[in-house]
Symmetry: C2
Subunit: 386 residues, 2 copies
């Protein structure tokens, strides 16, 4: 046995030359570029970013999640053409970033960890140190990508589905949380930058959350195209009702009744959650609205008094349906005090109260960022299906 | 209802301004960059690649899968700073690519579709037109990413798992194919560039393949580092035996016996498949070796006569175990006539024959590429568990 092990080590040493020959076939391997390591997370949470760009005149780190980064922070070039910058220490969590190399935003060529947004891809760096977000040695669920045919959009679509630890071997049925992303994101966001898989694994392991399936559909009608008005909102409600929910209930062992269904979303997904809920309140016992409200009443989003009145008129019957309200166990709002949708959230809560709902509402520190949305999921999930 | 739909369309039109404001917060949005669309697959299979890089002096498309691309093909710059190149028509399939912008390899900033390799990320473009590889309107399985703790490597690892259509709702047990990637790849490769999910869905729908679970583990000990000898081979066998197979059998409803277990891999994964198989033949009834053989006997990989003799001595008992051979239903090889490992594959087949095995072996057109490996899976999978 020992002899064979030693032998296999020798053989293993051949593999670099094989990889090297494959790599050479693709592009001239540059010895400096090959040695670059990026990103590097230091023990204190500071992150070193590096990229080889010998001919570039200006290279920045940029991204939507790292606080105080503004439009990007310029890196420093060394004599070998490697640009470097250390940011942080950053709080435990996940951060998307790209390098802006002479005006071109590119993912980190040295990292395999990415997060997809709406038609784009970011590099992702995870800073450990959170009991809720780290990958811990607990039973793990699975995150699936599944394909379904959308009868509404007449094409195949993808969704992500989290199944809790034990699901794949059990024959039990589980409650379902439909978890919606924001306008900037896609169905990948809640499990990449949002860490929903790890968060659920950890909270279930700690006995704080009821094991549940989490269905994360695509919230956009299609990849976002600049200058084209999105007509998602109608399509989303329609597709959610005719395709997303039926697909989830057909393919997974779910408890398909109101008491075991929740819907929540951030930003655009919060607006969608409210619209789907109000389309037929009898489907959901739990609603979560993260950093959002009813877009149609939001002055920040350009809604006029007229738009608001039209929305109210259209939803009056639902808003005042006392019977349907009886099965609602929780409608929960959270938003940061620096969020640009703060007024929208407050107004939506007031609107719901005026129609006899009893929303739970709380304001936190921070703004319209994934730093808050992960925390809101950590706070919201334990309230479900108890 | 109609009134509300019209209203929601109006509200939907607000979302671009929201996205725009988020995007602006990240980096100055450039109006030219925003309008770039890439890649575009034309009806004949030609692919248009575009990237905005106004200050670059040399921009190429490069990648390991597009035939005859060599070290990359130079793109043409227009007056707005957008570089463009049309390649193909390409055969139906999936192709990884990056842009080489002044010596920096970067994924397509306008595409969300990626394929991960060993510590890196590629853009991916799929050219439709294959009955086996296209996403068709058939029942779909799921591809999961799962996390497990490796007792051998003392850290968390990821694997991909394909479950066939109906698995998540059924309580049946299924046979398992362990499907290993090459030295250049990671556990993502078989389902991204390898299209294994769609291939299995289609072949199952067409009645050609027995519904099975496909477990795709990580074949490298860790991210590949240049200049460091890989010591994977021993670690892989060890981890496969102690962690990968037990994790799959603990977490999924599998038929955990020899007749319902297969192992196959490409290149490095083919060598690993043979090594795992020979470690204990009684575990697997089916073995597939795509574009590979026993690395330790391969002169192309630098194996000396001495290495070869040592390997033979170490494996003599297994190679000549007549009892263990009885439960082996198939050991199948395929390799392209232009593959640089052609001799290795032939020698391995001869070696097995000399020890009383009856390998099936066939040579195809082409070389050491995913164009062949997808086809080999399409050919191999129908032979399993019948």
């Amino acid at each position: 046995m020992r002899k064979r092990k030693a032998l296999i080590v020798i053989v293993g040493a051949m593999i670099p030359s094989l990889v090297m020959s494959l790599e050479s076939a693709v592009a001239q391997p540059n010895p400096v570029a090959m040695q670059v390591v990026s990103p590097v997370v230091k023990p204190d949470g500071a992150v070193i970013f590096r990229v080889y760009a010998p001919k570039a005149t200006d290279v920045k780190v940029t991204g939507p999640d790292i606080p105080d980064l503004g439009p990007g922070r310029t890196m420093t070039r060394n004599d070998d053409g490697v640009w470097e910058l250390t940011l942080g220490p950053l709080a435990a969590g996940a951060y998307r970033y790209v390098f802006n190399i002479d005006e071109v935003n590119v993912v980190d060529p040295k990292s395999g960890l990415t997060a997809e947004s709406n038609g784009k891809v970011w590099s992702l760096v995870c800073v450990p140190g959170s009991n809720e977000m780290d990958t811990r040695d607990v039973p793990h669920g699975a995150v699936s990508e599944i394909t379904y045919y959308s009868s509404v959009l007449k094409r195949h679509r993808r969704m992500h589905v989290y199944t809790p630890p034990g699901y794949e071997k059990s024959d039990g049925t589980y409650p379902v949380l439909y978890l919606l992303h924001g306008a900037f994101d896609c169905d990948d966001a809640w499990t990449s930058v949002g860490r929903a898989g790890d968060i659920l694994d950890n909270l279930i392991a700690d006995g704080k959350v009821t094991p549940m399936i989490v269905v994360m559909p695509m919230g956009h009608k299609g990849p976002f195209k600049w200058g084209e008005p999105l007509t998602d909102a109608t399509a989303f409600i329609d597709e959610f009702t005719k395709d997303v929910m039926p697909t989830a209930e057909r393919r997974y062992r779910v408890r398909a009744d109101r008491a075991h269904r929740a819907i929540a979303g951030l930003s655009m997904g919060g607006d969608q959650s409210l619209n789907v809920f109000l389309e037929d309140m009898n489907r959901f016992a739990y609603v979560g609205v993260f950093s959002s409200g009813v877009f149609a009443i939001g002055r920040q989003l350009g809604a006029s008094g007229d738009t608001r009145q039209k929305w109210l008129a259209a939803h009056e019957r639902a808003l005042d349906d006392a019977d349907a309200k009886k099965g609602l166990k929780l409608i929960w709002f959270a938003i940061g005090r620096e969020d640009f949708l703060l007024d929208l959230s407050r107004e939506t809560v007031e609107l719901l109260k005026a129609h006899g709902f009893e929303p739970q509402y709380r304001e936190t520190a921070g703004g319209h960022t994934w730093l808050n949305w992960r925390d809101y999921l950590i706070e919201f999930a334990p309230k479900l299906f108890r």
